[in-house]
Symmetry: C2
Subunit: 306 residues, 2 copies
């Protein structure tokens, strides 16, 4: 099978993970955790979000976290920004990269941003323009690229249309999110077959949620199609707050196990990642949802003959 030599993993746990936790993690614990992430070999950490605290109180301390973490050289510290007001705060906090976001499906965009897709473009366009003027790179997030909780399946052509508008604004990279984790590999293939003739493979990232267990299978198909950037979160943080049992982002440590097993380099040390996962698991006070954590939490030295 045709595989890339190396892959870039973007850790979204501190943002996409923690924004979906019911409890708010104390600021000091976030900082300690992010500092531990900075020592794993990760080159990208999405630290927080400048969405109004009314909507995401869990990340109300974005400025303080960005101000107090110990930044390592070679690591990009990013944050989500919904509008110019958010961008202003993010720039004051000296974020390295700005992430903007919207959905491919009308109903999810409306529900999440309270605007139609058409109404969203000019707002994001302004953010991109101002962020660029401030010398920042901009990442786009596009949600519901395979399925929408309100509309069902989302057409690949619709994803291409919105992606086109986002790239036209000047974003540097686009992360395509299977937000509700419904996708299977041949749907991923179909989506990428629609997008890859139009956009550079190295400007596309895949963002899978493992809600139905298909995230790693989807990542393998993406790899085979030339994608080399993947979002993940430690311990699979980021489940849906309205469906307690449902899994969140694909777990960074499970992704690392697979990629390294396949001989693909990431520059990340899985043992250090596991230490960092144990740290946030302890703060969180409940078990993380990843296979590697299950194994770590199981009796040591056990051998199975089953």
């Amino acid at each position: 099978m045709k595989l890339p030599k190396s892959v870039k993993i973007k850790e979204v746990g501190p943002r996409d993970g923690l924004q979906n936790e019911k409890q708010t993690i104390p600021t000091e614990d976030k900082i300690t955790w992010i500092d531990s992430l900075s020592k794993t070999g990760l080159s990208y950490i999405e630290v927080s979000s400048f969405v109004h605290p009314k909507w995401i109180p869990q990340l109300a301390d974005a400025s303080e976290v960005l101000g107090k973490i110990q930044r390592e050289q070679g690591v990009t510290y990013a944050a989500l920004v919904p509008n110019l007001r958010g961008l202003e705060r993010a720039l004051v906090a000296n974020v390295d990269e700005v992430s903007i976001f919207m959905s491919a499906s009308e109903a999810h965009n409306k529900n999440n941003i309270n605007k139609s897709i058409e109404e969203t473009y000019p707002i994001l366009s302004e953010v991109v323009k101002e962020a660029k003027a401030a010398g920042k790179t901009v990442r786009g997030y596009l949600s519901t690229v395979i399925g929408c909780p309100y509309e069902g399946p989302v057409a690949a052509s619709q994803v291409r249309k919105v992606s086109d508008r986002l790239f036209s604004m000047g974003i540097d990279e686009l992360s395509l999110g299977d937000t509700i984790g419904v996708g299977v590999p041949n749907q991923v293939e179909k989506l990428l077959e629609e997008l890859l003739p139009h956009f550079d493979a190295n400007k596309l990232a895949m963002h899978f949620h493992d809600t139905r267990g298909t995230a790693l299978a989807n990542i393998v198909k993406s790899l085979e199609m030339g994608i080399t950037i993947f979002d993940s979160s430690l311990g699979g943080l980021g489940g849906c707050p309205y469906a307690k049992g449902a899994s969140g982002n694909v777990a960074t440590e499970d992704l690392l196990y697979m990629l390294h097993g396949m001989g693909i380099e990431t520059g990340i040390d899985i043992d250090t990642v596991m230490e960092s996962a144990k740290l946030i698991e302890k703060v969180r006070g409940k078990k993380l949802n990843s296979r590697q954590m299950d194994i770590l939490n199981a009796e040591e030295g056990a051998v199975c003959n089953g």
Copy 2:
């Protein structure tokens, strides 16, 4: 991607699942559960094992279970058999198909069967001969086809060698087990590239454990290479008894979700499967380990905007 139109799923939960549970499920509950499995559309259920009860006390009631289940037409009811004594009991219980087993790695075979690989062949050969004489089909299980807990990586050439001996005995099908769940897709590809020039794709089944989350990704690669038979167990039953947290077989319901999503037919109704999973979860008294069960156990009607 090249995919088969339909796939056959072989449910191994009542055997591979329950043999690895610490607790012994009451015989009546097993029967009720297997009867519910018979109504899902599954065409193959591995009901129990005739390994000596000293080794697997959880399945000491194999004869009673096979005698009392309500057999549905079109469903094959199979059981594991280690030797002629086990075969005798299995034939009295009127099993439809007999499964023999051994490992591809010397150390795992020794540890599991207490015999070298060479010493194992004549014992299995006798079982196959007698089972055939009694008009039964025979399935072979080959464990540790990718990794061994004692020896590490297992060479594909070694798997081919042992497979060759098993097919020479006259087995009808061979199930290749990644017993400790260490495999990743390009290893699966390498293994099948070694085997497929020598053996019929429709006589090979893949048996993945999801210990490290890679089972579905491995199944997709197997599908792409022409494999159409997969073992799985409801709720991912079958974890390692010596490592409590570690996952077992790939969960039937997660496999079904993916296959059906990919447009591949199985003849199995996932809703009926979920009812059957809830049944054994209740008997078992602790949560099953599958994404579909997580979702089912989560709050109903929840919608995620994350």
